[in-house]
Amino acid sequence: MNSHTITHRQLFFLIVQTQIGVGVLSLPFSLFTKAKIDGWISLIIAGLFIQFSILAIWKLCDRFPHNTIYEILPKLMGKNLGLVFNFIYTLHFAFISILILIMYNSIVGKWILFETPHWVIIFIMTAVGYYFITSSPREIARFFVIVTPLLIVLFVFILYAYTDVHLLYIFPVGQTGMLTIIKSSSDAVVALLGFDASLVFLAYSNGTPAKNIKVISFASFCITVLYAFIVFTTYIFFNPAEIIIVPEPVLYMLKAFSFSIIERTDLVFLSIWIISVATSFISYLFIAAKGVQTLFGLNDHQKGAPYVAIFCAVIAIIPNEKLEVLMWNKYISLTSLIFSALFPIVLLLIAVLRKKQEKGAASS
């Protein structure tokens, strides 16, 4: 276990990098279709909601120190039901990995590589994912820390949009009504997913529980602020009537900027963004591989890794039309909402009611 532990700082970067992923490019669009120009408020509300899920996940993992979700489930629900839920969770995380691949493929195929066959795009990403998950969580975390400065580059690019914005587009605030705003925050929660990676990675952290909750909560807070900033920027860059025909507003916005050296800023942005996608993909693939390890009682997760990777890649190739992609997105988003955001709260309730707790854990 020793070489497998991560510090609480590394945990911060793990969560940040898992949260930033495919969602960021189309988030302003998907929020707009529901909450109109008040989408950015929905996002902030969603950011508050997920803090509850985070609290639940942390409390749950606190009761069972150094246990991943796959070890907690059988202890909570008994052996048989635990096995069923382990299977569901493994499948769930595998499908999130698949969704990341699908969305990544559709955007790359649409924006840069028009002629390259889809399976090539998908297999390249899968190969990267597989290579990374054969290493230990500490090595993965180190990589995530190294690539984090790249986020600053993305941030600076988006900042450039302020040379041509129409601040008035955001008014009148609250035009859509509070109820719609709160309802559409469920879509925003999906984009903020990634904190659920702590269900597994918390088990490796060697920080104190107080430090752990601080870093996870702070990581989500940072991402909520970053996303709100991005959504807000695109809403004042595009006209409300225009944004409904631009599914990737962030890229489209960057495409319009050109500097004397870089003409197509969106291509530079995409190349960096792919790394963010890769980090999310690696996280989820790792979690899925961990699930396979528990399910089949393997000694280490590396043994199951190639099968998980190939499974994800093959499924991700199936949808090839835009509408199919949207359908997959819709259903996987829905299951994510249930299993990643809501179910941890239920699990915590079960643990409290049945007074399940690992010996040695500090009683609260």
Binding site: V120, L168, Y169, N239, F257, E263
Partner: protein, 373 residues
């Protein structure tokens, strides 16, 4: 070390080969023009600069002009492609021109191709040409013969007009949000081809997707000032502030704007009556004043007063023209929409705008006058 060396060949595999665009198999369009033919078809004209090796080893640019018509913009492009040996590529396009007749119909329908294609150059300039766009593009200009293609030449002409604030800064993407906005319109440079040059005559005003009129050059500078443009490299204009001096030349003063501050007030009464006022506070430097007596504060004040009066008059003239054309480039409607949404919903802005009370005033402050008094 051997490990690293063995990894090097992998680099060769990373590039892939599906998505390559060979430069020798493409023709890069630098200027495109749209017109309508008599039977309502879209006529696309494209200029492709081709470098021809001259004898002394110096490159020389020859502009090849192609044109084709079709039912839509894309169809005419595809037909254009069939007339050219290589593949036409618009990713380095510098300017898109609309013939005046085409601009008066609808420009969004023609621009759809550019918004949709991920490879298109969204930072290309847009302009309206007096007469036909194809005439402008196929004119044999004096300047571009040697150095660059017609696209670069037109783009640079527009850029220099932007620097002198004759036209506002716009490109394909910047007009798009405004085009969709029911509460704001935009303006594009208005070109006129002369025999061997092209002259920027002012701005072409739009309402929704259609061109509705023009404001000619020196007044177009006042138009740009009213947009609240802070200052451009050479936002200068010449105004007649005296009427009785001889020779005629003595009546004029030329100044350069150093700082331009706009306050935009929109009032909506409870009954839904809209009134708007633009106030500009300008700090200017006098760059030409043949009367040469700016030594006393009284004289400076006199010039300031007369300039303010003259500019205010011009500004109101611009606004009157805009209301007459029913073009709202300053976004009065947008302000009403943003701050008085319930009122906005009741108004039929298209009918209300020409009738609203809309005024402007410009206050000039002379802060310098070159190195002589």
């Amino acid at each position: 070390m051997r490990k690293i060396l063995s990894l090097l060949p992998v680099l060769l595999l990373l590039t892939g080969c599906w998505d390559q665009a060979m430069l020798n198999q493409t023709k890069l369009i630098t200027a495109g023009g749209f017109d309508y033919t008599k039977d309502g078809k879209v006529l696309t004209t494209a200029a492709v600069p081709q470098s021809v090796a001259a004898e002394a080893g110096q490159g020389n640019i020859v502009n090849q002009i192609f044109s084709a018509s079709g039912n839509t913009a894309r169809q005419s492009r595809l037909r254009l492609d069939r007339r050219v040996a290589e593949r036409l590529d618009a990713s380095k396009n510098q300017i898109i021109l609309f013939g005046e007749a085409a601009a008066k119909k609808d420009i969004y329908q023609l621009l759809d191709v550019f918004y949709r294609d991920p490879k298109s150059a969204l930072n290309a300039k847009l302009a309206v040409a007096k007469g036909k766009a194809s005439d402008v593009i196929s004119t044999r200009f004096e300047e571009p013969k040697m150095s660059s293609g017609v696209g670069e030449y037109l783009r640079d002409s527009i850029r220099s007009a932007e620097e002198s604030a004759t036209v506002p800064k716009e490109n394909i993407q910047t007009v798009c949000p405004v085009m969709f906005d029911p509460g704001q319109d935009f303006a594009l440079p208005y070109l006129e081809p002369l025999k061997k040059t092209v002259s920027i005559r002012g701005v072409a005003l739009f309402h929704e997707h259609k061109m509705v009129g023009t404001i000619r050059e020196p007044l177009s500078v006042t138009y740009t000032m009213l947009t609240g443009e802070k200052h451009t490299i050479a936002m200068s204009t010449t105004k007649k502030i005296f009427t009785n001096k001889k020779p005629e030349l003595m009546n004029y003063v030329t100044f350069k704007v150093k700082k331009n501050k706009r306050s935009f007030n929109i009032d909506v009464t409870p009954e839904g009556k809209v009134s708007a006022e633009i106030k500009l506070k300008m700090k200017v430097v006098v760059t030409e004043y043949p009367r040469d007596n700016l030594a006393t504060p009284g004289e400076v004040e006199n010039v300031e007063k007369r300039l303010s009066k003259k500019l205010t008059k011009d500004a109101n003239k611009v606004i009157q023209k805009l209301q007459k054309m029913n073009s709202d480039p300053y976004g009065v409607g947008r302000h009403v929409m943003a701050y008085h949404y319930p009122v906005w919903e009741k108004l039929n802005w298209k009918e209300v705008y020409p009738k609203i009370d809309f005024k402007a005033s410009i206050d000039v402050d002379v802060i310098g006058h070159g190195i002589i008094e």
